[in-house]
């Protein structure tokens, strides 16, 4: 009890020192108001103390999911600011946001953001840049080579991820997988072949020139060559020069449509049943991609915001779609008990 009395006396002395000229009623009112306001000031102070993470992102559902994944479980530790950019955005906008917010970390979602930020860095060669993470952008390696203090996550799903996921569903063994690619992606295909080899999968590639007036004929020949080599499946790269509507009609459909092989594609529309073409679409899980970026941000926080010699990461999470009508029509056997592991089953 004694300590309680003393505490009350201490309060009175404390407030009397602050509010000596107030009446008792006013003092009471002041105390009550102070008690209501002070915690909020403290909270606001806490919020201000959080380091700022600045996200430059393009618009679109997929990118919104990426941002949700990034911000999701770091909201308590970081103050996130998101700035939308588009093709008409200017470098001055990036500059303005950087000056205004002084972020501890910058996250660049989609190629437009990366391009603008690269220009911003070039425009300010002597500036010190916070660590940046680039993701959800095609061929991110090329861009990161031009950026200072940056790392990232690739957007392209590695062959090994796609094939191991497909292999888990198929009844037959998958030991040889064919891929047609242009010369400029040879390095990426070779890297994929190394990962596949460790999983006991031989990735057999057929290289096409980067440009050729008779690319459709060369593509047809490449696909036929791979099928003649008895590949167990085909892995199709997202390369607009090879996967445009004209090439699709002239080369892909006539050859692959007739082959009784499972075909892995990187975009969902190629699973259309009427084409009898793609049987598996292994596509990025955009929310999980954001979570992967959040994990890198967490590591940066723990490492005092130092990027160090961090490698560009491969995406680890995918969404799996299977078209069982196409598999059935090609007489490719699969395990029905594993369909519950697919994100979507097209019938």
């Amino acid at each position: 009890m004694a300590s309680s009395v003393n505490t009350q006396k201490d309060y009175k002395r404390f407030w009397a020192a602050f509010v000596p000229n107030m009446s008792k009623l006013r003092q009471l009112l002041f105390i009550v108001l102070s008690l209501l306001v002070l915690p909020n000031i403290a909270l606001a102070q806490d919020d201000d103390d959080k380091p700022t993470a600045l996200i430059f992102t393009a618009q679109g559902q997929a990118f919104n999911e990426v941002v949700a994944g990034i911000t999701g479980d770091l909201e308590e530790e970081l103050s996130f600011e998101t700035y939308m950019v588009g093709k008409s955005s200017k470098v001055s906008e990036i500059e303005e946001q950087m000056k205004k917010l002084k972020p501890k970390v910058v996250i660049l979602v989609e190629n437009v953001s990366i391009n603008l930020y690269t220009k911003y860095q070039k425009k300010n060669p002597d500036a010190e840049f916070p660590p940046a993470i680039a993701l959800a952008a095609l061929f991110v390696d090329r861009y990161l080579a031009k950026l200072k203090n940056a790392t990232g996550i690739r957007y392209e799903i590695p062959a090994v991820t796609s094939i191991v996921n497909m292999r888990g569903l198929l009844s037959k063994e998958v030991k040889k997988v064919g891929v047609v690619h242009r010369k400029w992606t040879a390095g990426m295909v070779a890297e994929n072949a190394r990962y596949c080899a460790r999983e006991g999968i031989e990735l057999i590639s057929y290289e096409l020139p980067n440009k050729d007036s008779s690319m459709d004929k060369k593509l047809t020949k490449g696909l036929k060559t791979l099928i003649d080599k008895d590949v167990d499946a085909l892995w199709i790269l997202n390369d607009n020069s090879l996967l445009n509507p004209q090439m699709f009609r002239s080369s892909w459909l006539p050859v692959v449509g007739k082959a009784d092989l499972p075909v892995i594609v990187g975009v969902r529309p190629f699973l259309n049943t009427k084409w009898n073409f793609g049987s598996f679409a292994i596509v990025p899980d955009h929310y999980a991609l954001g979570v992967q970026a959040a994990s890198i941000i967490g590591e940066l926080m723990d490492d005092d915001w130092e990027i160090g010699d961090r490698d560009i990461e491969q995406p680890v999470s995918v969404k799996k779609v299977v078209n069982i009508s196409v598999l059935d029509s090609k007489d490719v056997k699969y395990r029905k008990d594993k369909l519950s592991q697919m994100d979507e089953v097209v019938q």
Partner: protein, 231 residues
């Protein structure tokens, strides 16, 4: 006779009135998609409103926003969900806990160097609580790489993003079945509680117990248990 009519009408109204189904939230990382698991559980428990979550964050947010009558999850998740009392424990091979191991490629991890290694885990609890939970189990500060789905652990090893992954022995066997990588496990003498059910209100106990007891071998197998023990 009028009172008899009134009584009949009253009884009919009571019987016809919709009975609020008990809410059961489920968060158990498995290879089966949340939607498929929700269909399976709902099929055997039609009188329970089942919601299955694929991500821990969504589960935690929804438990906070609209607390359900019951939750079904791994014990570490239940232990950190306030206001829920465990009423049923999943049992596998007679035990309510399972052994966890560290899995790496080609070479076993040196536990003496564990603090300098990066370890992959499925995120059950969120960044900080998960870090605290694993560090407590290892009695050392562990650098974690968290993933949202258990199938994402294998790519972490494939691409060398981590030195090892921290998984149950059961999950290790599943990953080994999927992969031809030279996977090596390191025993840890660490056990973690299996899937359990917990209640916010005792009123729901009978229905939830009855629901879980109806799970077939396939559903139990997905959840990593072979039977249920009522506490």
């Amino acid at each position: 006779m009028k009172w008899k009519h009134f009584l009949s009408l009253g009884l009919c109204s009571i019987l016809a009135a919709p009975v609020a189904a008990e809410d059961l939230y489920v968060f158990v990382p498995t290879d089966v998609r949340a939607k498929a698991m929700q269909q399976d559980i709902s099929a055997v428990c039609p009188d329970v409103s089942v919601t299955v979550f694929g991500r821990g964050k969504d589960f935690r947010a929804q438990v906070k926003k609209a607390p359900p009558d019951a939750i079904l999850s791994l014990l570490p998740v239940i232990d950190r969900s306030n206001n829920y009392d465990t009423v049923m424990r999943g049992v596998a091979n007679g035990l309510t806990e399972e052994e966890y191991v560290l899995v790496s490629v080609d070479r076993a991890l040196d536990l003496g160097q564990i603090a300098s290694k990066k370890i992959g885990v499925v995120d059950l609890l969120g960044r900080k609580p998960m870090g605290e939970f694993v560090s407590q189990l290892f009695q050392a500060d562990i650098k974690l790489k968290r993933v949202t789905k258990q199938e994402d652990l294998l790519p972490l090893l494939t691409f060398g993003s981590v030195d090892g992954i921290f998984v149950s022995e059961r999950l290790y066997r599943q990953i080994k079945n999927r992969s031809n990588l030279n996977l090596v496990s390191t025993s840890l003498n660490i056990k973690v509680g299996l899937v359990s059910a917990a209640l916010a209100s005792k009123g729901a106990k009978e229905k939830i117990v009855s629901c879980l007891k109806k799970f077939d071998a396939k559903l139990n197998g997905t959840l990593g248990v072979d039977q249920w023990r009522v506490l």
